[in-house]
């Protein structure tokens, strides 16, 4: 199993570890509910060094992005971040990614899912435009996520005001605080304000120590992947391998805002235009007691219309929430979820389940 630079220290600090995407990762420390609450109400720290990073550089960098991603990067300014899907020729999802514009037209950093890092690097490498290179920086990069409304109070103790991005989905490249440059990004996967800090592995420990020291008076809590999952689910953020995979048509997952059909072309565009979406992603809340988990079947009356892709007991709402992939034309009244042979009543609800007060 692969390890992040924080594996040892996080085990010493009481993490309960599991295999996640081939990495030995903490699923929880004090407990998922306490960690979830810390992020919703204050601030939590996640090791997300398992995430992959691919640097795309050269005169064809922008053209490469325009080809391999569904979103439009012509308009992305340096210092800004933009989410996208990356599709195969069939319109299925190779991965979902964040793209950082380091230098317009020339240099972009792509943050990808850990489970897909090697596949993504190979995919991007095979679609590079002329005089363009892709570098897989995944093993050289550590990443910590500081998430929650008080995250700014932690980050403010480590970085100067000028070095802190103030808009969501923007970032700063900071020199002089650590031995190498770091990226301070105002992004996250928790539906709260927060930051993700990318550094060279040689600075991993230095960054961790600074974050822990800065978080001491703020009540920063160590968090694991368990809370990361419940937090993103409340925010209805899709997770690769659950809401989508290579066989999921990109127009079936409710992410159309990130698919720019007005671009002349991108990989998968033709396939998407040829097929009407047969499925859709919806939010579900159980009316009866129970928890609707992944793979549970969803019914409209007696008719099976799909299945749960992610589901949990929402720590913030105290309700059983789930995202489901159902037939696009299904009647969404009279919903049931089959939980271990029992048909529990459910209803469709708007996504996201949770939205922070800005």
């Amino acid at each position: 199993m692969k390890r992040t630079p924080y594996c040892g220290i996080l085990k010493e600090m009481g993490g309960k570890f599991v295999d996640f995407a081939g990495y030995d990762m903490p699923v929880q420390f004090e407990g998922i509910l306490a960690e979830h609450k810390a992020v919703r109400e204050n601030v939590g720290l996640f090791d997300v060094s398992h995430m992959g990073e691919v640097l795309i550089e050269g005169e064809g960098a922008l053209a490469t992005l325009q080809k391999v991603f569904t979103n439009n990067y012509e308009t992305l300014k340096a210092g800004r971040v933009r989410y996208s899907l990356m599709l195969n020729e069939n319109g299925g999802v190779v991965d979902d990614v964040l793209v950082y514009c380091i230098k317009e037209n020339e240099t972009y950093l792509v943050c990808v899912n850990a489970s897909n890092a090697d596949k993504d690097f190979a995919w991007i490498s095979s679609h590079l435009e002329k005089n363009t290179t892709a570098k897989n920086l995944s093993d050289d990069t550590a990443q910590l996520a500081v998430q929650g409304s008080s995250a700014i109070n932690v980050i403010g103790k480590i970085f100067k005001e000028n070095d802190i991005p103030d808009k969501y989905y923007s970032f700063k490249i900071v020199d002089g605080v650590f031995s190498k440059k770091v990226i301070v990004s105002r992004t996250g996967y928790t539906a709260e304000d927060g930051f993700e800090i990318y550094c060279d592995v040689s600075d991993a420990k230095g960054l961790f120590d600074k974050v822990i020291a800065a978080g001491k008076d703020v009540g920063l809590k160590l968090c694991g992947l368990g809370a990361r999952d419940t937090l993103r689910l409340e925010g209805a953020m899709p997770l690769y391998g659950h809401e989508m995979n290579e066989n999921t048509l990109a127009t079936e997952i409710g992410l159309d805002a990130y698919i720019k059909f007005d671009k002349p072309s991108f990989i998968g565009k033709e396939a998407l235009l040829e097929q009407a979406p047969a499925k859709r992603r919806i939010g579900i809340e159980l009316v009866d007691r129970g928890i609707a988990r992944e793979h549970a079947e969803v019914y409209s009356g007696n008719l099976k219309i799909g299945e749960i892709t992610s589901g949990t007991m929402s720590p913030t709402l105290g309700k059983s929430i789930a995202m489901a992939r159902v037939d696009a034309n299904a009647d969404l009244n009279n919903l049931f979820v089959d939980v271990r042979g029992k048909k529990l009543r459910a209803e469709k609800v708007e996504l996201p389940f949770y939205k922070r007060n800005k």
């Binding site: 699923v27 407990g31 509910l33 368990g226 419940t230 007691r289 129970g290 928890i291 720590p315």
Partner: protein, 122 residues
């Protein structure tokens, strides 16, 4: 981790307190700690039968569902309904948070005493 001397256990981490012909059943402190935050309990109804070593209830943590097996056979005479509204009681004190009381007709032949159970938890 707490193990109580006066109880019997199943390898699958249930405890049973036998008092005359009535058994009180729950999950162990080790089990609740392994599961993490328990957020839902699915209990059977009074009058239903349970079979030794077979599943009679489910506990759900944030991450997963786990079956709860019965250390005895018999008929359920009481259910601890408080757990449905406050499943976290199991995390707080697993030996206090009993699931059901059963009128015993037979015991599992796989019951362990505290010392034998403790070895499994290592």
């Amino acid at each position: 981790m707490e193990i109580r001397e006066n109880l019997k256990y199943l390898e699958s981490h249930e405890w049973v307190e036998i008092c005359g012909n009535v058994a009180r059943i729950g999950i162990t402190d080790y089990a609740q700690n392994e599961l993490g935050d328990i957020v839902f309990v699915e209990l059977p109804a009074v009058g239903e039968s349970v079979v030794a070593d077979k599943e009679f209830a489910n506990v759900e943590s944030v991450k997963a569902v786990s079956p709860v097996n019965s250390p005895v056979s018999g008929k359920i005479i009481a259910v601890n309904g408080a757990l449905e509204d406050a499943p976290e009681m199991i995390n707080d004190d697993a030996f206090d948070a009993w699931f059901v009381e059963v009128e015993i007709t037979a015991l599992s032949d796989k019951l362990l005493d505290a010392a034998a159970y403790e070895k499994i938890c290592k």
